[in-house]
């Protein structure tokens, strides 16, 4: 392992992380909900009365975030190397996996770890390990 100091951005990472933490805090303190993106999106497939509008509002907020960030002179850098077949497969796996696993990086990784939930801590360790292993195989074994 060697640290890529050219790409490493600890300060902006921590500042962005604190913003994510405040957002998760707002959603639980005001709405009583976990800021888990897969759960918020996936819940739309089980629409219940009074449970749809807040989900859509949160998602619209996410979508408008790059527009707001660009207005404050921080247009997002988004480089997607994966080609379409890989994106389709990856999206499918992320969709099914997060619903069976009951959460993703936000629901388990941020909120669940913050709540010291044993399920979330296990899930986070497992999906991190699977992510490390997948990139290792893709870049250093196959690639």
């Amino acid at each position: 392992m060697s640290i890529d100091f050219a790409s490493f951005t600890p300060l902006s990472a921590a500042i962005g992380g604190v913003m994510i933490g405040i957002a998760a805090a707002l959603l639980v303190l005001l709405n009583g909900r976990i800021a888990g993106i897969s759960g918020i999106v996936g819940g739309l497939f089980r629409p219940a009365a009074g449970d749809v509008a807040w989900r859509l509002a949160f998602i619209v907020g996410l979508i408008l975030a790059p527009v707001l960030a660009a207005a404050f002179a921080q247009p997002p850098t988004v480089t997607i190397d994966a080609d379409y077949p890989v994106l389709a497969l990856a999206g499918l796996l992320v969709g099914i996996g997060t619903r069976y696993g009951g959460g993703c990086t936000s629901g388990h990784g941020v909120c669940g770890v913050s709540r010291v939930s044993p399920r979330s801590i296990v899930a986070t360790l497992v999906f991190m390990a699977a992510g490390f292993a997948t990139v290792f195989v893709a870049r250093h074994v196959v690639g």
Binding site: I20, G21, A53, V60, G91, R99, S114, A133, F136, R139
Partner: protein
């Protein structure tokens, strides 16, 4: 109107969450893959994002734990399950593989959609298809179970 406040606060939380993903750089799959590539040139930034987020959110969750309702009077809808079951582990493995393939998890993919990335649209469409497949499988299983119990009651009568 109470519901209006709930919707407004969800919008504000989503917006701030998304800006956090942009500022932290996590909306960029190349940066996320740089974190997941331990054997290559490693970019530890994602760990700093998690640490910053958890440090703040942990305070809110600790405070929430002692309350029955939120500041807006909404009920607390927090998961109570503590089972470390096969679904949790297998689901997280499948998610982690997908995450490692493209460098996208659900939040950043939705935010990248707002940045006008067509490739993010492809990923999100596939992700929604995966979530829909989950619902169909679960409903088919629930239906099969209901039918089975129905037959058993039928036999008994």
């Amino acid at each position: 109107m109470q519901n209006g406040k709930i919707v407004a606060s969800a919008f504000a939380a989503g917006l701030l969450f998304g800006v956090g993903l942009v500022v932290s750089g996590m909306v960029n799959p190349v940066k996320v893959l740089g974190f997941l590539d331990l054997a290559g040139a490693w970019d530890p930034s994602l760990a700093f994002v998690m640490a910053g987020a958890v440090a703040v959110a942990a305070i809110a969750f600790a405070w929430t734990g002692k309350r029955a309702a939120t500041l807006l009077g909404a009920p607390l809808a927090l998961p109570s399950s503590r089972d470390l079951d096969r679904r949790l582990v297998l689901g997280s493995i499948v998610f982690g593989v997908g995450w490692g393939l493209a460098g996208f998890c659900p939040g950043p993919a939705v935010v990248a959609l707002g940045a006008g990335k067509i490739k993010a649209l492809a990923f999100v469409a596939a992700m929604l298809a995966g979530m829909l497949a989950f619902e169909w499988i679960e409903r088919a299983r629930a239906g099969a179970v209901a039918e089975e119990t129905g037959q058993q009651t039928g036999q008994r009568s």
